[in-house]
Symmetry: C2
Subunit: 433 residues, 2 copies
């Protein structure tokens, strides 16, 4: 006897519809698929993870405030009711646009009528020796878990020897953009908690969280007022912020700066910049755009093509003013929606429209009760108001009602009983000594 | 400027109190420490994980019903308010009871006045070739995550090729005790869900969940009536149950039985039996007990010692009727409490008392709405009543109010919207092809 005699309902016959392959299930790719759900196209999303990751909250997973499942959502579940959207778990190795096929890691070839590259971004290490091996970026759930294990293990190790030899612990965050600011604030709060709640015998004056940046201020895309506020808040929380410092090497337990200083570290967190992920850009064009991105026209088509598109962090989208849009979630989502609309317009025989980004502002959180948001006309909201706006916006965009509910419960809990996430060191491999 | 100028409050001076080292933070070890919290002893719990794992619910993590953080609880958080209990993250490599020291993996030596071995059990593979490499047991959070990834990845792979070549998928569970019964029932429900909810194009008649056991019935510690009920329920759920079958080899993608059959499998789940974990038993006695356990007196002392104890699954505790108590959570908890009491009696100059186990019954769940519980006088509760009793008991014993609340919310949610856990394939290493 087998499990069940009920098969899934037979899918409707979509064989006459054009087939759209979307490579990547991040903010951009998901919006393309959403825009095409239940329309007259067949859609396949391919991703090497079977879930969408809500990247803006990865730093909270890394600092043990949220659990991995709270910032990840299975892609199949998102499109469970859209019979024309299929998910394929795998990695795209190569695109042959001449033959209109993508080649997966296991050698399988899938044909398409439209291709959308939405492979996102990954950490840029700028060729700095040791950085890719020893510094931990925050671009995937695996990164976040690795960083959490590293941080908590470093604190456990320091506690274990604290009786006999008081140790100093340095955590260095490289990069003063939103990720660096958010992570250093959260890490500082994690350390205070661990010392106070978990009774670790660390000398708090010897545990340092150091944020370094080459630039002379934090959050460079924000107005100066917001940068000054972020600096003041971080310093109030005990984060040491050092400007004008560039990293020349990362070792297993140390970091070296251009000025010659070598600092022993428990962890280096890499938030210094991004580059396009994967190598598909060079499959579809000879001369890729800045940061390895796919160079697209204002229509978001790959130059010279009408059925190959790129969105989000993997695309170099011209602003029309000699520049490109920044690699931010709102650009990814809006460009994804735009491409879905153009594919449908094309199917209806209508001409494509150019992409126009609607800037609704940018925001970063610094700690409990402190965030900055900069609205389009330069208006800056900060403090508790900024923080509430940040909470609301992130909850709104989190995929899935269940995840929204869980994260809301966690945040509320933390607000009253700060901070209470389970500080688990969970590795796949079972090793400890 | 450093993180904070506030150190943890100075611990009270406990230097004159005896030092109790507890090796292992499972059910047994945790109860010893609880019994000694805020008493006139110094306690150190050593564990290679920084959390306590609620083993009875691991199969729900493996089948994507609960998240890892819901069945794990940081040991430091349990004893946050007990200033005489300390946690040490590490693995004990060796005990030198002559010198009264435990030696950690990193070489550190810790002195003790009392030693409690509470290292628990691990899967027994009985020397069957390939079993330890290719079969997946369910004895740690890492096992559960590994099994979940294996199950979900197998379903994804089958779906990917389903269009061109309909594939059969076999999942084999070895062992018809509570773990085998619970896991096969949950796995069967997971597969139905994945096919129905996530739209996987698998032919449900070709996906088999097979539970094999050498014995002629399920749940041998239970009365025959309970075994028959479990069998009927599992078969109703589509699980194939095969008795009198013994495994002679496990290969990477196959299993071989004594009768010569070789079956291709997507996963083999090993629930065939347990053996004492670790090698400390042979450090403290020449002739260890059955299953590698520490042989103890009815006082739970290691023979010939008054300050070395063993509890739970790592101890062979005589019943007084020529046998030993089974390796079950209630025995672990009660023996742990007993040892804490005896250590305190000894400190007060009172003679130790023999351990007496109070059997409050055993239970196993088979699926939604179906469980069996057998109470001491042979009374058997089954069906929805058994299931509700199972839910209540497991919630009661789950460590931490927050975990109880989260699991209760998950179970309630699942009751109305079955089953809705996030089916994430999350590995530490980032590989997919």
């Amino acid at each position: 006897m087998a499990i069940s005699n009920k098969a899934a309902p037979d899918p409707p016959d979509l064989s006459g519809f054009p087939h759209v392959i979307i490579v990547g299930g991040g903010f951009g790719g998901l919006e393309v698929a959403r825009g095409l759900a239940n329309k007259k196209v067949r859609v396949t999303i391919i991703d090497r993870h079977n879930f969408h990751t809500f990247l803006p909250l990865l730093y909270q997973v890394a600092t043990a405030m949220l659990e991995p499942a709270e910032v990840a959502y299975p892609i199949r579940t998102v499109f469970g009711k859209a019979l024309n959207v299929r998910f394929r778990h795998g990695q795209v190795r190569h695109v042959d646009h001449g033959r209109r096929v993508v080649v997966l890691g296991d050698g399988t070839e899938l044909d398409y009528d439209h291709l959308v590259i939405a492979t996102g971004a990954t950490a840029a290490f700028f060729g700095i020796p040791g950085a890719s091996q020893h510094a931990i970026p925050l671009y995937s759930l695996a990164d976040a878990r690795r960083l959490r294990n590293r941080l908590l293990s470093a604190l456990e190790k320091a506690d274990a020897v604290a009786e006999t030899a008081p140790v100093g612990l340095n955590f260095v965050i490289v990069g003063g953009g939103p990720t660096g600011v958010e992570t250093s604030g959260a890490l500082s709060e994690l350390i205070k908690t661990v010392i106070k709640r978990d009774g670790l015998r660390l000398d708090p004056t010897r545990v340092r969280v150091i944020l370094v940046d080459m630039a002379p201020r934090l959050l460079t895309p924000f107005p100066e007022k917001a940068s000054a506020y972020a600096l003041k808040e971080l310093e109030r929380m005990g984060v040491e912020v050092e400007f004008g410092r560039s990293v020349v090497e990362v070792e297993e337990n140390a970091i070296r700066f251009a000025d010659g200083e070598r600092l022993r570290v428990a962890a280096v967190i890499w938030a210094a910049g991004v580059t396009a992920a994967g190598t598909l850009a060079s499959d579809v064009q000879e001369k890729t755009g800045p940061g390895g991105r796919v160079r697209v026209t204002p229509l978001l088509q790959i130059e010279g093509q009408t059925n190959a598109w790129a969105v989000g962090d993997s695309a170099a989208i011209p602003t029309g003013e000699n520049g490109f849009y920044p690699q931010l979630a709102p650009v990814a989502m809006q460009s994804g929606r735009h491409v879905a609309q153009q594919i449908l317009r094309q199917a209806d025989g209508k001409p494509p429209l150019p992409f126009k980004f609607h800037n609704k502002g940018i925001m970063a959180t610094i700690g409990r009760h402190a965030a900055v948001a900069t609205l389009p006309r330069g208006l800056t909201v900060k403090g508790t108001m900024g923080w509430l706006a940040w909470l609301g916006l992130h909850l709104w965009y989190l995929v899935g009602f269940r995840n929204k509910l869980r994260v809301m419960i966690n945040w509320t809990w933390r607000y009253f009983d700060w901070p209470s996430g389970p500080r688990l060191i969970v590795a796949d491999a079972e090793t400890a000594d």
